[in-house]
């Protein structure tokens, strides 16, 4: 049985603190025995003492504090308890950490990692359930990394810590409790799975061994299970074979794996948990049509949360957030897909 994602992340933090003296962990309630609101930092303060700092509730400042540490030679990892509260830190993000290296003409680097639990499905309501990573996509010089449950979480977190630029590391809250399903013998379950190279790889999934398909479903993070479920259902119910691409690098946007897959499938559906407007799907759609208009047989379709608040009540929340059925429907609604043109 694969370990749970929360445990994989926790182990990775233990290893990072053990292997590098310059790594510090900061955040609200990160100390033992509490070990963080989602327990990702469990055991760290007992083991590494002074390098694990409990902070006041000062999100607006903490990203700046971490930047000060980073500029002066350390590699801080800051946890923002709920990613929703990254809004408080936007001045430091936009006018500070993303600019220091370039505006100081390369005289400094800002190697800091901000870990942010995002996403809904737990009934936490409008201000504790959002997926706000899209707000960071418009900030040049940041890196936004969003692992899925099939990624090597330890490798990704290690790459983020080793990165000389600020990395926002998006952890989906529902993902924490799920098994970290790494590909085995090139497969995850029944689906063939390939991993691209580099520190922030994408995962490509196919039910037909990448010989082609009806559509590419591009997603990331906590939406991967919905995309895989939809792809499997489409095979079983409709005999439609889709490829799924799970990106881990949202900024810079890792376009190549999506283009590679679209070249085989001729259509694209994007899937994200955040709200629709100005989202990652919009950016992907723009870039794919720019680079591969001739490959597309149908307009790109975006699956995302409704533009509104995420209600607390379970039924209301489910109605707003995208799920497997929304993904499958979007694929079926693509022009030419049912006709089996591919």
């Amino acid at each position: 049985m694969a370990k749970r994602c929360v445990d994989a992340l926790n182990e990775a933090l233990h290893e990072l603190l053990a292997s590098r003296d310059d790594v510090y962990v900061l955040g609200e309630d990160v100390l033992d025995p509490y070990g963080g609101a989602f327990k990702v930092t469990a055991g760290l303060s007992d083991r590494f003492g002074g390098r694990v700092l409990a902070t006041p509730i000062s999100e607006a400042s903490l990203v700046g504090v971490a930047a000060g540490l980073a500029i002066r030679g350390y590699r801080p990892i800051l946890e923002i308890m709920f990613g929703d509260f990254v809004t408080l830190a936007f001045d430091q993000i936009v006018n500070g950490i993303s600019k220091f290296r370039e505006m100081y003409d390369g005289q400094v680097t800002v190697p800091l990692v901000v870990r942010m639990p995002m996403g809904g499905g737990r009934g936490y309501g409008p201000t504790h359930s959002q997926s706000l990573e899209k707000l960071l996509l418009g900030v040049p010089n940041l890196r936004v990394v969003a692992p899925s449950e099939c990624h090597d979480l330890g490798e990704l977190l290690g790459a983020a810590v080793a990165d000389d630029d600020p990395v926002f590391f998006i952890e989906n809250k529902l993902m924490y409790g799920r098994p970290n399903r790494r590909p085995e013998d090139g497969h995850v379950g029944e689906l063939a799975c390939r991993e691209t190279a580099g520190p922030y790889p994408a995962l490509l999934f196919s039910g037909s061994d990448f010989v082609g398909g009806s559509a590419t479903i591009a997603t990331y993070g906590g939406m991967l299970p919905a995309a895989l479920e939809a792809a499997t259902e489409l095979i079983l119910e409709e005999e439609l074979f889709c490829e799924v691409v799970a990106l881990s690098s949202l900024l810079p946007l890792d376009l190549d794996p999506v283009l590679e897959s679209v070249a085989r499938t001729g259509a694209l559906v994007t899937v994200e948990e955040g709200t629709l407007t100005g989202g990652i799907g919009a950016e992907l759609a723009a870039r794919v049509q720019e680079a591969a208009f001739g490959e597309l047989r149908a307009p790109v379709r975006r699956v995302a949360a409704r533009d509104g608040v995420i209600p607390s009540a379970h039924g209301l929340e489910r109605a707003v957030l995208p799920g497997p059925a929304d993904v499958a429907r979007a694929v079926l609604e693509l022009a030419g897909t049912r006709a089996g043109e591919r």
């Binding site: 607006a60 400042s61 903490l62 100081y104």
Partner: protein, 293 residues
């Protein structure tokens, strides 16, 4: 002699800032600038107490005096403001986004306090004995992150010296319209030691700063130094609606005049001459340098 050195420092800053304003008036500079004419004793007095090899300075939008006092790099700053490739930040930062060695500045008010706090934490962890000095204006005291930073600095016992240059204005807005309560009280609420002085006497400021720096270095804890001062120049280039009589009255306490009293006429003339020569050479070098980009 110390006074002569400090006078030279202040004169150099004054003439640098005047030169910028002249260049702007002549249409030779674009963008914006905030000069510290009238406040030179703060930069000279405080920074005289710092160790340029070890300490850190984080400054704000009105940063030229701090930069010159800490780094000495007049030519790089001039070139930076003039948009030259040879500028401190290759022309990317301009007047208020400077970096050289352990000097940093950023033009977003208050925003520098958390970063300076993090730097103080880094130096504490490294055990370097460095003091991190952050310069704030009275207007920046309206920003919440300043108080978050003071809380953190006190809580974590960080070697941070916060210097408030209280010139009684934030851009066009006088203190009475933007500041409630006392300034040192703000830091005292966090248990931070404070001192306030109303002075343009560079020796007096240097003495107060020496006490503050010694406290921070000795105890490893933060200190909050408030210097009441006054800016003669406009907020940036020509935007001034203050009562001219108020400015004139404050000119009687011009830090250069105050310091000059302790110097001989010939000594002063020699300092000023050397400075004019340096400035002329820097201006010629910057003019000759290639434009950035």
């Amino acid at each position: 002699m110390e006074l002569a050195r400090l006078y030279g420092q202040m004169y150099r800053i004054r003439r640098f800032e005047e030169t910028l304003l002249e260049l702007f008036s002549a249409g030779k500079l674009v963008g914006t600038t905030h000069t510290c004419i009238g406040q030179e004793a703060d930069a000279a007095g405080v920074i005289a107490c710092l160790d340029p090899e070890r300490d850190i300075v984080f400054s704000n939008h009105r940063c030229h005096g701090h930069y010159l006092a800490f780094t000495g790099d007049l030519e790089g700053l001039l070139a930076e403001v003039m948009g030259k490739a040879t500028g401190t930040c290759g022309g990317k930062g301009g007047s208020q986004h400077l970096c050289r060695g352990s000097f940093y500045s950023n033009g977003v008010l208050g925003s520098i306090a958390p970063v300076a706090t993090g730097m103080a934490l880094a130096e504490r962890e490294r055990g370097s004995g460095a003091v991190t000095t952050v310069f704030l204006g009275d207007g920046a005291l309206g920003q919440g992150v300043v108080y978050e930073s003071l809380n953190l600095a006190a809580l974590w016992r960080l070697p941070l010296l916060a210097v408030v240059e209280n010139n009684f204005y934030a851009q066009s807005t006088p203190s009475r319209l933007q500041l409630a309560g006392g300034i040192p009280d703000r830091a005292r609420a966090f248990g931070i030691e404070t001192e306030q002085l109303d002075s343009t006497d560079v020796l007096e400021i240097r003495e107060a700063a020496a006490r503050a720096v010694a406290r921070v270095r000795g105890s490893g804890e933060p200190f909050f130094l408030v210097i009441d001062t006054y800016r003669f120049s406009p907020h940036s280039k020509g935007d001034d609606h203050r009562d001219p009589a108020e400015i004139e009255a404050r000119r009687l306490r011009d830090p250069l005049t105050v310091a000059a009293v302790g110097l001989g006429g010939e000594q002063r003339a020699a300092i000023e001459r050397a400075c004019e020569e340096e400035l002329a050479a820097a201006l010629a070098a910057a003019r000759a340098a290639p434009d950035a980009g």
